[in-house]
Symmetry: C2
């Protein structure tokens, strides 16, 4: 493939690196707790500061203090979700898996092959908390946990609590690489280790991760004749290797990620596995999103990271093709992805069932992570629109309001009579809960980016930023808003000294009419779905007032989405709404939503309910209730219209569903005649 | 459970039977090729002649000669499907599995655990052919094949080619019973053996089956303290045991079926398996259709057979509940059942996806088989309506017009761009092809039943019946019709001598206006969905003229079927229609069906195309094509109506889809605004 690294280049980098480390591994081990890398303080979630093909560079988590809408959710995350999830992890043996190997526990191995990754994602969630705030108890707990983790690293550098004892012969076998999640676990390990290093400067976990890669992985696995192949059964290692490069400056990790993204023809992989795993062929040969949705999204993240470092045009072309596939055929209105429970997979184009939607929380998170990277590459607001859609809806729905229950699936319609329970405190495959936790704790890191010529504002919420422009000029910004319930944002821009630069203000694609004022004067009309560039000499205290259009919007899906024919969904601002049976006032409707119809005309009324569901906007939309519904499964279409009576339909934000007693729910509401 | 057999009664019957046989097994074996049972000639598919709770008794396959619509399909079945399927079976090692155990082949075991059943179902298909017509070559081939089968029966009576050698220790273990299809295979063996005996009088296969049950199964498995439990992992054995009772007169087989239908508490079965297998708890404790659709339908067949012999009211109550569930929540308009590919299972109530419909051919057949039994119990036409719907549509679709390709899934919408290929010559799980073959070859046996007071006419097609009333009076009947393309049927009723009895004429539920004349005189108006009872003294040559209403009907689904909101389907007579892209004449539609809309008003035109798809009615329905469709996945509902141009939609019978080049297909057509 054009632009991919040559085998010779690759071998040169890996062989040298391996040799360097292998001189004296004890020396490497002695690096623990030292800080041998570039300054760890105030680094972003993804550090694009030296990425040649990134147009934007994220502002770190610790530079943004959020006190508005997301503050409550983030507080719940820190004080309820993260501690209760640690209890669940401990209770389900995720730590005795490590303690057993240290001789401190006699418990048998617990949980599926990817159990270690749960601990690492939880560690990453903690790391972003520590980047935001001082939490000595949490720090102490996590430090101790990290000591248990690194203690089980083997002299070879290997570190995984599943592939030991009887399972040891399975290590890195082809079948294990395809289904065994060894490198997936190490990918999450590295992400957790990097975030923790950037939070604390403590490189204990990071150094052990580097040893895994340098001493165990690279000398033995790769494209060389004396190396065995790598197949990324569940993509994740790719993006973590590139972030490891961004942390250490060692380019060999980019090359290794490129090799993995390229696939290794020495191993024959079944076509169905190539689809399912979204790996095993060169990434630029992909033409559509398919297979396991989380694998696919994580592969796209890794491929975008690879593009950001290499500028490989074949990668960019493919990423654009896949993104168009996403927004044209595969994206739920909630920002979720992955239609099918079978294989947790993407469906065919336009296959977007509602009650049967899979929409795994992790896939929505992967979608946001991917779009954040695409945004960094381009500075284009179309990617931020997808990020925000996923964040407020398909990700936000994944955690209960009390922070202790999680969705694995995020369906767009639900009937409790099916016996399905959507929110649960624990899943044996508990990938989603700590994934949501790390997303919420890292969230301030997605608010702003810098560019060569200024600063980008991506997300709106009451908050303070304290950072600097890329030329080093200090810059504080503040936002005051009741977003997402109101569309007005009052911002201040305060450079350390008067300075000419551009403020790029995101105008959401859903906001059809917008006004922007700077120090009270109107700015030329802002276009939806673009960043409005305001270039001027800014002085401390300069004010920007943005007013977005929060008129509720009735949406229809493309006619090819056969399950949404004759149905509409309501969105207001970034929030997608749904009906729950228990809110409906229509007489005799029971809790049955199937006899309710939305009017296509008529005004949707909005009210804010501060005491309801943690404080939400509630919509009332004119509709009707079908009386005396025919119980037959099929009937003549000309049998005459069913009697209908006017009623109001009550909608709540989708993310807040299933936080009261079980009740039917639907996002897409029939509007057609019955 | 009320009405279930007592353990004491059961033990008495099984112990005696086992003892009797075990005196001298060689004597039993010596019975081969003798005809020790009641007269074998001209027996129906299901022999209800001594079933105390059957209101109707089927007229045998051999008594009805079909020369109309079904004749072509049945000819294809005999001359194309059955021979080519035998070639496929042989080629895929389904016979070397037997020959290996005789020392005649060195091939290893081939195919899944249920591979023997494919051969048995094929044998049953042949048996019904031989009941209809003289086919010496087919008889010779099948006789020889039966010799290979029975030759591998072990001295213990055991007969299964999978659970031998290394697999022998697995025999009848709980896990094997749950997932290993041992008794499922024997169930199909017995059905094939009984049909072959009734076709030829040759009891070779039947006797070996009886030995399996009497010598291997009954002495060792059952409710007794010295017996191990039975769990029917894939129901099938139940109905075959009851047909074995009907063949031999030995009541112990009914008792054994009852024990299996009741479940055995000595083994703990996972709740999910109880749902999936549709067994393991007393059948009368069931409240809905669920789990694996074929398992569920076959269990309902067995339970209805058990009711027909015992009259157990708890069974009947449950069967009525389940049937109401079927027609209210679970039945596709094509008569198919089983919404989900996952677990090949029933979905939730009203979960009837179209493109993702599973609708396994075997499940539609199971549905027909069940409804045929419910019809026998009651004489009520509501069951015949479901039978006919499944037969003409969801079963008929399962075999290509040339008889050599089969559907496993029968979706109600299809997009070839997904890469899915619906019709295939072979499936490694090849349950459906021979199942369709046995259904078509047995079809004449479903046309008529006798009752104490006369004769029931269930299905219409040009045909001759030569049988007798239950009082022994000879009766010939003929039908002349172009059904299902035209609604007129001219019948003659010719008893051997003038005789008073009732002709029960089925008036289909879909036929809203009907006229019936006897010898030219109008009979009181017939009600749709009922049998019209015409009691009189009939004399040879008496004429009945039935005119059914063949006006095409636009159907809507219950509003709770969320995927059919805003969509309509067209049915004419018993035939459900669909659109294939390649037939559409709308300009610029490509092959894309999603931009076509049906009008709810306007006349559907019908034309008969003798050269097309083996001769079919084609419908033209007024509709529109959407021009310049917005490619966005979501858009504002008030963005204005899309431009539409009038066009005609062309529809062909659903069963005939996918018989030309690949093309999109849909049964449910959006009628709503886009």
């Amino acid at each position: 493939m054009s632009g991919s690294i040559s085998r010779r280049e690759f071998l040169a980098s890996t062989t040298l690196a391996a040799a360097a480390v292998l001189v004296d591994p004890r020396q490497a081990r002695a690096q623990s707790k030292t800080q041998p890398y570039a300054d760890w303080k105030m680094k972003p979630v993804m550090d694009f500061s030296k990425s040649p093909h990134a147009k934007l560079r994220q502002v770190p988590v610790g530079a943004v203090t959020v006190t508005g809408y997301w503050a409550a959710r983030r507080k719940t995350n820190v004080w309820s979700s993260i501690p209760s999830m640690r209890e669940e992890l401990v209770q389900h043996g995720r730590m005795t898996n490590f303690e057993r190997l240290e001789g401190k526990s006699k418990e048998p191995q617990k949980g599926p092959v990817y159990s270690d990754s749960d601990i690492y994602k939880w560690t990453e969630a903690v790391a972003y908390v520590l980047q935001s705030e001082n939490q000595p108890e949490l720090r102490k707990t996590t430090d101790a946990q990290i000591r248990e983790i690194v203690a089980v690293q083997e002299p070879s550098g290997y570190l995984n609590t599943y592939y030991v004892d009887d399972h040891k012969p399975l290590r890195m076998q082809q079948h294990t690489q395809e289904v065994g999640h060894e490198l997936y676990c190490m990918g999450h390990y590295l992400q957790g280790a990097i975030a923790y290093y950037r939070a604390t400067g403590d490189a204990t976990m990071l150094n052990a991760g580097i040893r895994f890669v340098d001493e165990f992985l690279l000398p033995n696995y790769g494209p060389g004749a004396n190396q065995k192949p790598i197949v990324s059964g569940h993509p994740e290692i790719e993006m973590s290797l590139i972030e490891l490069y961004r942390t250490t400056g060692n380019k060999k990790y980019v090359d290794l990620a490129g090799y993995i993204l390229h696939g290794d023809k020495r191993w024959t992989i079944k076509p169905s596995a190539i689809v399912y795993m979204y790996c095993g062929i060169p990434f630029p040969e992909r033409t559509k999103l398919e297979g396991h949705a989380v694998r696919c999204m994580y592969a796209c993240c890794g491929a975008t990271d690879y593009y950001l470092e290499t500028g490989d045009p074949a990668y960019w072309k493919t990423l654009e093709t896949l993104w168009t596939d996403l927004v044209s055929h595969q994206l739920y209105v909630t920002g979720g992805v992955g239609a099918r429970a079978e294989g947790e997979a993407f469906g065919d184009a336009y296959e977007l069932p509602n009650a049967r939607a899979y929409g795994e929380s992790c896939a929505a998170i992967g979608n946001m992570m991917w779009n954040a990277r695409m945004l960094a590459a381009t500075g284009e607001a179309r990617f931020t629109d997808v990020m925000e859609r996923a964040l407020y809806n398909g990700i936000n729905s994944g955690m209960s309001l009390d922070g202790k229950l999680y969705c694995y699936r995020n369906p767009l319609a639900f009937e409790p009579a099916t016996g399905d329970v959507i929110r649960n405190p624990w899943y044996d495959t508990t990938c989603c809960p700590p994934n949501i936790e790390r997303t919420f704790s890292s969230l301030p890191g997605y608010f702003y980016s810098t560019s060569k010529d200024g600063i980008y504002v991506h997300l709106y919420d009451t908050s303070e930023m304290d950072w600097h422009l890329e030329d080093g000029t200090g810059l504080k910004m503040s936002q005051k808003t009741e977003y997402p319930w109101k569309g007005d944002v009052a911002m201040t821009v305060s450079p350390a000294k008067p300075h000419e630069f551009t403020v790029y203000l995101r105008i959401p694609g859903w906001s059809t009419k917008n006004t922007v004022r700077v120090n009270g004067s109107a700015v030329e009309a802002a276009k939806p779905g673009e960043y409005l560039a305001i270039r001027r000499t800014w002085s401390a205290g300069d004010r920007i007032e943005l007013a977005m259009d929060m008129t509720p919007q009735l949406l229809r899906a493309n006619p090819a989405v056969m399950e949404d024919v004759g149905k509409a969904a309501l969105q207001r601002g970034p929030v997608v709404f749904c009906m729950e049976g228990l809110d409906q006032s229509a007489p005799d409707h029971g809790l049955n939503l199937s006899n309710l119809r939305a009017n296509l005309e008529g005004e949707t009324k909005v009210r804010y309910e501060p005491e309801m569901l943690g404080g939400v906007a509630v919509l009332e939309h004119p509709g009707s209730v079908v009386a005396g519904q025919n119980p037959d499964l099929y009937r003549a279409a000309n049998a005459g219209a069913t009697e209908k009576k006017g009623t109001n339909l009550t909608l709540i934000p989708y993310y807040a569903w299933a936080n009261r007693k079980p009740s039917p729910m639907q996002v897409w509401i029939p509007y057609t005649e019955v």
